[in-house]
Symmetry: C2
Subunit: 217 residues, 2 copies
């Protein structure tokens, strides 16, 4: 176990690391071999010191002048985010969004592996979506316990979100990625991450509104 595994990074750092990754993929495709925190900062319009501090969490050591080898930096960030391992996950709610999540192959690249989906709709139970079986929600707690699933994705309508989240917790799930636009009330030892789609929409809606009012267009 290395020291880095014990370092708890602040949330803003965790949110910036994937942005560095996306940039590094692009630079690697472009044939670049090394990258400096200054270059990353310039490309992403961030502060270079901030970028350097974020990267230090991954325990990679930069070299004077050349910076970091891109390949090593990619591996270091992916390891830090645990995206080089596969985490088995359950998803509850197979509507439009849930189906999209199941079909989104990219999640596998980020270490997220859906092993089963759950719904209450009898039309959907017993079917498969992208080879993932859809099961009755009643089976979730027992199956989560037996398969030792710790990661749950919540894509049910908001009025059922609290109820289904509690079922997940009953099954021993310790981290819930919540796509329902509502605040869950769960025991403190359960990690809840809200996908913040409406928060993101709020930012762009208001900015466009301001732009129109100010007539800068």
């Amino acid at each position: 176990m290395t020291a880095s595994q014990f370092k708890s990074a602040p949330e803003p750092t965790l949110r910036r690391l994937p942005r560095y990754l996306h940039l590094l993929f692009r630079l690697r495709e472009g044939g670049l071999e090394d990258v400096s925190s200054t270059l990353i900062a310039r490309e992403l319009k961030l502060d270079p010191t901030q970028v350097r501090k974020d990267i230090e969490y991954t325990d990679i050591v930069g070299r004077p002048k050349t910076g970091y080898p891109i390949e090593d930096l990619i591996i270091a960030i992916e390891a830090f985010l645990n995206w080089n391992n596969t985490e088995d996950a359950f998803i509850a709610g197979v509507g439009n969004l849930g189906s999209a999540m199941l079909g989104y192959q990219r999640f596998k690249k980020y270490g997220l592996n859906f092993v089963a989906a759950f719904d209450t709709d009898k039309q959907k139970i017993g079917t498969q979506i992208d080879t993932i079986p859809v099961l009755s929600i009643e089976k979730l707690p027992d199956l989560a316990n037996r398969m030792k699933i710790k990661f749950g994705v919540l894509t049910v309508p908001p009025q059922y979100a609290q109820f289904v989240a509690e079922i997940m917790v009953e099954g021993g799930i310790k981290a819930i990625w919540n796509f329902a636009p509502c605040q869950l009330k769960l025991p403190d030892d359960v990690i809840v991450e809200n996908a913040q789609l409406t928060q993101s929409l709020a930012v762009i809606s208001r900015k466009l509104h301001e732009k129109k009012i100010l007539g800068s267009d």
Copy 2:
């Protein structure tokens, strides 16, 4: 034009306002008529002063002791985010995620009205998804100009994101909600909001990883 329309709120405020809204909907359903910033802060585990400052951006005036009438506060926040008006939008990329977005009725509640979808897949062009026509991507710039569309949603694979974003800008689109995990390079007067799904996944992945390492489970 009121003063509030000119107030430019910081992004963290814009991201918190929808969380207040979701809570207010729940409290209203529970029969509550008034709410204080202290109650909102406690429910969402935020600082009361922060909550009060955020709400002040909407220009609503609280009353001593009782706080804000819930109904008025909902209206004030929705107006501030421009969610009481409808913004016509184009969406490019009708894969899993794009289709889910089109089928997600809730966006209408948040003022987002899809009027057309665009793709390069000939199997999809000419069809409809939830009554929204799917058109060839080539038609986007001209149609955006003629219909004065200012809002674009980008749900294409990352390797096409930059190209399609430029097509949107060519059509006069001024705000792009980007779901592709990549950094877009566009003129400074174009508002780009990244949906941050991978950022959100990074936070929960790392936190669960830390929890497992520390054996607090």
